[in-house]
């Protein structure tokens, strides 16, 4: 789960990382008092969970109160890369001398945290990797040992920093690693890290993505899906730990296991159809979960058909079948539903589905199910 900038900054601040003076406005009416609190000139920043916000026009500046109110109104009436702007962060505008980049993430291959520090930060930091690799350093960290202060200093020294400045930056790097470590972060990032003309160093932007699977041990983070997830079906799916991605087509897909579900989508496209979504159940199917998944799919008015592709290894197939039947009998969908289901206790599951009048594909090949669905649709 990615936090909003202002939420991430609150955490960074608690860990001793300097952030610009700021205040949140939830409506244009609140901008006035926020600006008075912060002091002019100000930066006006849309709080949306997308990358490339600056380039998409989500950050504006103002020298007067009137200008600030007007620009805040503009931002709140717009969508930034498809996301509604519900809150605005008003911040003091800094006198910037130089922008750096600091980030900590997990290197998926080695399974180790990796610290990345670039002497050139800002919106184009990724091109630094290709064009000026000497301006950038990355270092793997042992998760059980942690990052020592001296290691942070070593990293800064390798990029040519020294003296008081080295000490300041390395201390921010060390603190950022602590945030990463204590918040189970997938990524903790400061871009840009700004050096001002007054020799101060600020985290001007803050990105913190906390691992969804770790939320059980971070009670201070409020999930609050209504503010984070725009799409209603995705929001309901996320609540039930179903993983959902909306696509552009009209054939709904439910699958057990990400690989099988992706394959189903690939094959639909291969046979000339357009998948409407990716919805994956994981390995904890119950009758209720399956009923809910089917119900969620049927809320999507774009659907012309629904394909359900399940495998019984760890998942109980009779319970899955019961759930599908319950949703089917309750909602009486007008679109065709086809179920491909194989694995443990498949016979019992098949007979439940067939007695309810739901067509079943018993072959192991997903291709067979997709072809059958396409011919049902006359495509």
């Amino acid at each position: 789960m990615r936090l909003f900038e202002y939420e991430a900054k609150e955490i960074f601040r608690r860990f001793g990382i300097l952030v610009p003076n700021g205040a949140i406005a939830g409506s244009p009416d609140e901008v006035d008092s926020a600006v008075r609190k912060v002091g002019l000139p100000v930066a006006i920043k849309a709080q949306v969970l997308v990358g490339g916000r600056g380039k998409a026009g989500g950050i504006k500046f103002a020298d007067s109160l009137e200008e600030a109110v007007e620009k805040a109104k503009e931002l709140m009436s717009e969508k930034i890369m498809g996301h509604r702007v519900r809150r605005i962060l008003i911040e003091e505008k800094l006198d910037i001398r130089h922008e750096y980049y600091l980030g900590v993430t997990i290197d998926q291959l080695s399974g180790k945290p990796v610290v990345v520090f670039s002497k050139e930060g800002g919106v184009d930091v990724e091109t630094v990797t290709e064009e000026r690799p000497e301006a950038l350093i990355s270092k793997h960290v042992s998760l059980s040992r942690g990052l020592f202060q001296f290691e942070a200093r070593d990293i800064c020294q390798q990029l040519g920093l020294d003296g008081a400045f080295l000490l300041k930056v390395s201390s921010i790097l060390h603190r950022l690693y602590s945030v990463f470590d204590q918040y189970d972060a997938m990524i903790a990032e400061i871009n840009p890290l700004v050096e001002t003309n007054e020799d101060k160093i600020y985290a001007v932007d803050a990105m913190l993505e906390v691992d969804d699977n770790s939320l059980f041990r971070h009670s201070d983070i409020k999930l609050d899906l209504s503010r984070r997830v725009e799409d209603e079906i995705k929001r309901e799916a996320t609540k039930r730990r179903l993983s959902y991605v909306k696509l552009k087509g009209d054939i709904g897909v439910i699958g057990s296991g990400a690989g099988l579900t992706m394959t189903t989508i690939d094959l639909i496209k291969d046979f000339g159809g357009e998948p409407a979504n990716f919805l994956e159940t994981g390995g904890a199917i119950t009758e209720q979960l399956m009923e809910r998944a089917v119900e969620l799919m049927l809320r999507d008015k774009r659907l012309r058909a629904l394909l359900i592709n399940l495998y019984g290894g760890i998942n109980p197939m009779p319970a899955a079948a019961k759930g599908i039947v319950r949703a089917y009998e309750r909602l009486r969908p007008k679109i065709p539903i086809l179920v491909k289901l194989v694995g443990n206790q498949q016979e019992e599951a098949w007979s439940r589905l067939e007695s309810a009048g739901i067509p079943v594909v018993k072959e192991i090949q997903t291709e067979v199910a997709v072809k059958k669905l396409m011919s049902t649709l006359g495509r």
Partner: protein, 292 residues
């Protein structure tokens, strides 16, 4: 002794951590039915009971002092998995098969580091486990889609592994071993490690890779495949899937454009791998390669 299977064989002695839970208990029964040598189970607080005839202990240490074990399969809930794996590692168990899903990535990374320190190996998490058809299964896969033979399969997806193995079995092509490595951001054992074991295993004539988008497992595996003597075929899922929201700059800086289905397919093909466009195409490619 001639190695008949990678990682495990019919003699591998297994403990089940989390044996008394709903899933742990059912899957223990299915593994016993398959002939897997389960010697003990562990659930803290349930010591002294039995599950399908398997004695249950409160601690791993107590279990292995009565029943020496080579491997552990874990059905422990995610919040307790870090504790349970380190407990097994401390009892000198060298192979951990972690079935549990939704484990925090930091915990998996920690577990991986601990196994590296002591020369143990974790498979998973979110894995269907390992099956050596006809010999043993340390996992949750439905046994009926597998048969004994000489194709090794490595899969990041559980259910897609069943589909592809099932396709091969229907065509009369058996498997030497099938290993699900899991598709979490961090996994205990990489695709490349399993490829190396298959390359050394005289029983395996060909390796099939079942990949999917995300991470760089396939790209790294391709480096090793260039040096392999055995043929490799692959299917990669997720050509249509959208890349999803970017994971900040640090992720992009490290990945440098890798991780998409197309990138994986290109890199594998350049390493000499035959690519199946559909899961059922794997059968034809395997048949051709086994004859060459």
């Amino acid at each position: 002794m001639r190695l008949m299977c990678i990682l495990v064989n019919e003699k591998t002695r297994i403990i089940v951590q989390g044996i008394t839970g709903g899933v742990g208990s059912i899957q223990t029964k299915l593994m016993l039915d398959y002939g897997s040598k389960i010697v003990a189970g562990v659930t803290p607080g349930k010591g002294g009971t039995t599950v399908h005839g398997v004695p249950v202990y409160d601690t791993v240490k107590a279990a292995v002092s009565e029943h020496p074990a080579d491997a552990s399969i874990l059905f422990v809930p995610a919040p307790f998995i870090k504790d349970a794996t380190v407990e097994a590692i401390d009892s000198d168990i060298k192979l951990l098969v972690i079935i549990t899903e939704h484990i925090p990535v930091h915990d998996t990374a920690y577990i991986r580091e601990q196994t590296e320190f002591v020369g143990a190996r974790a498979i998973g998490p979110t894995t269907p486990g390992i099956i050596c058809p006809g010999k043993t299964k340390i996992g949750i896969m439905p046994a009926n889609v597998f048969m004994e033979g000489n194709v090794g399969i490595i899969s990041r997806s559980g259910t897609l592994l069943y589909e592809i193995a099932g396709n091969l079995t229907l065509a009369g092509i058996g498997q030497s071993a099938c290993v699900g490595i899991g598709a979490d951001p961090v996994v205990g054992t990489d695709m490349m490690d399993i490829l190396r074991l298959f390359e050394e295993d005289e029983h395996t004539k060909l390796v099939a890779i079942v990949g999917e988008i995300g991470g760089v497992q396939e790209e790294e595996a391709a480096k090793f495949i260039r040096k392999m003597t055995k043929p490799v075929v692959a299917y990669v899922a997720g050509r249509v899937a959208s890349p999803g929201e970017r994971m900040g700059h640090a992720g992009a800086i490290i990945l440098r454009g890798r991780g998409t289905a197309q990138s994986k397919i290109d890199v594998l093909r350049n390493a000499g791998v035959r690519i199946a466009n559909r899961p059922s195409d794997v059968v034809g490619l395997v048949k051709t390669c086994l004859q060459c």
